[in-house]
């Protein structure tokens, strides 16, 4: 143990704080001095979702004096299976508002600052600068690279966690003491190759496990105790109930924290990750290979002769489906393409439009000429055409 803490101490603890934190004060590694460090600490949690929930709950309860929460979203029913910071009556409420209310109820002694905004290249430096530590609880590659880059440029420790289905990863990125996210994964996967939790699902408990480990690392960094996960990547498999630890090193060629960095300011992360336009419902159609749900419905009503291809997974098919659609999951499309007649017109959909866009690309490469992606997918269909259809 014994990483020197860069954080100072706050003023004395009040009588109510001594009562509240008594179990910390009894631990020699924390004690009064450590609790005062926690009180003086400023931690920014980016994302008030699956990871942000345990992060917020435990860091607030631990007495982190200034806790910032960034999120732009509203609470949805599909969040409640894992985002335990929010409750059923919060559905429809701003996540930042819901988070602040619950965290203040847990610990009114701390200062909670909420930022009801999407973190972007335009505001990331300003958001992160006042804080000592940043915790990445985001859910997409562009934001992960953005948070990493902003933290490196500002010299902030970035406590990383990510999850999918039954597996999670945790590390602490803190150059020059260890690598940054770019040293580990120099580039993101192409859009559609690695499913998101929204596409592939996630065990509700998993973010609890990973988020609690991120919170533990934050507290350790603030207190200057133990061995932080700098230069180590922890891999968790809930099905095997197994942790694996691997060593990771700085990349001398890293464009951000390497020996001759070329990235000196934030960039366009959606372009970097190749997702520009994918997640912008309502934006104008960008190609002739997209079709709206209204147009699909109108063509079905007219009795037009075309086929519908559903590229979701069978588990999603069981939740809801468009009547006559043929199911071929995206991962099986290449090998099952012979089942599809290239002479027919195909309208392709998934849940929200990203996987089907990839499918349309594959079909076009294979010689299918008359093929269109349903913009917004079956979620859009459920919103605009058939409100009785379950949304997930």
């Amino acid at each position: 143990m014994g990483t020197p803490t860069p954080f100072g101490s706050a003023t004395e603890l009040s009588a109510s704080e001594i009562a509240r934190y008594s179990r910390h004060l009894l631990i020699p590694e924390v004690a009064t001095e450590g609790q005062k460090r926690l009180k003086a600490a400023k931690v920014l949690v980016i994302g008030a979702g699956g990871l942000g929930s345990p992060l917020g709950l435990y860091l607030a309860a631990a007495g982190v004096g200034q806790l910032g929460i960034v999120d732009f979203d509203v609470v949805e029913f599909s969040n409640l299976q894992r985002q335990v910071l929010h409750t059923t009556p919060d559905v429809g409420r701003r996540k930042t508002e819901s988070a602040a209310a619950h965290l203040r109820a847990i610990n009114p002694e701390i200062q909670i600052t909420t930022y009801d905004t999407r973190i972007s290249s335009a505001n990331a430096m300003e958001l992160i600068r006042p804080y000592d530590i940043v915790i990445d609880g985001t859910d997409n590659f562009p934001t992960r690279y953005l948070v990493n880059d902003a933290c490196v440029l500002l010299g902030k420790s970035n406590i990383y966690g990510s999850i999918y289905r039954f597996e999670g990863q945790v590390s602490v990125f803190a150059p020059p003491a260890g690598p940054c996210y770019r040293c580990l994964f120099a580039e993101p996967p192409p859009p559609g190759m690695v499913p998101s939790c929204a596409e592939g699902g996630v065990l509700g408990i998993l973010p609890g496990v990973i988020g609690c480990m991120q919170a533990t690392e934050a507290v350790k960094l603030i207190l200057g105790i133990g061995e932080p996960l700098i230069g180590r990547l922890l891999l968790y498999d809930a099905l095997e109930m197994k942790f694996r630890e691997v060593r990771i090193q700085r990349d001398p060629q890293c464009p951000l924290c390497g020996e001759q960095p070329t990235l000196r300011e934030l960039i366009d992360y959606e372009q970097f990750c190749g997702v520009r336009g994918q997640e912008a419902p309502g934006a104008p159609f960008e190609s002739d290979f997209e079709i709206s749900v209204e147009e699909v419905k109108a063509r079905m009503d007219r009795g037009d002769d075309f086929d519908i291809l559903d590229v979701r997974n069978p588990e999603e098919w069981q939740i809801c489906r468009l009547g006559s659609a043929k199911l071929v999951p995206l991962g099986e499309l290449q090998e099952r393409m012979r089942e599809l007649d290239p002479a027919r017109e195909w309208v392709v959909h998934c849940r929200s439009g990203a996987r089907s866009a990839k499918a349309v690309e594959l079909l076009r490469q294979a010689g299918f000429v008359n093929v269109k992606n349903v913009r917004g997918g079956i979620s859009e269909w459920a919103s605009k055409i058939d409100p009785s259809m379950p949304k997930y």
């Binding site: 990510s162 597996e167 993101p188 190759m193 690695v194 630890e245 691997v246």
Partner: protein, 98 residues
């Protein structure tokens, strides 16, 4: 027998659960393991290594015995523990869920 641990999305693609086991004739290297893996599961071609150059893709890393082998020579022998199946060869992919 070599044990290979795949990221979950590639297990889904290959339709396997748990570690993959492979028999390798000759030297056990990263190249021979990945060649055998892709021969057994052709759908993995292009997902771990580039289709053309066969170089590791930038969002994938290779580990064994806690060590990062991502930038090691693909023809260097893997640790004995991996060659004997005592330890898995880990293929770790970027994930972004939160």
């Amino acid at each position: 027998m070599i044990r290979v641990a795949l990221p979950v999305h590639l297990r889904t693609l290959a339709r396997v659960s748990g570690d993959v086991t492979l028999d390798i004739d000759g030297p056990v290297t990263q190249r021979s393991v990945l060649d055998a893996l892709e021969a057994r599961y052709p759908m993995l071609r292009g997902t771990i290594r580039d289709h053309v150059t066969h170089k590791r893709r930038a969002f994938i890393r290779f580990f064994a015995c806690e060590q990062d082998l991502s930038n090691e020579s693909p023809d260097a022998p893997l640790p004995d523990a991996v060659a004997k199946g005592a330890e898995p060869y880990l293929i770790v992919g970027a994930m972004a869920g939160g």
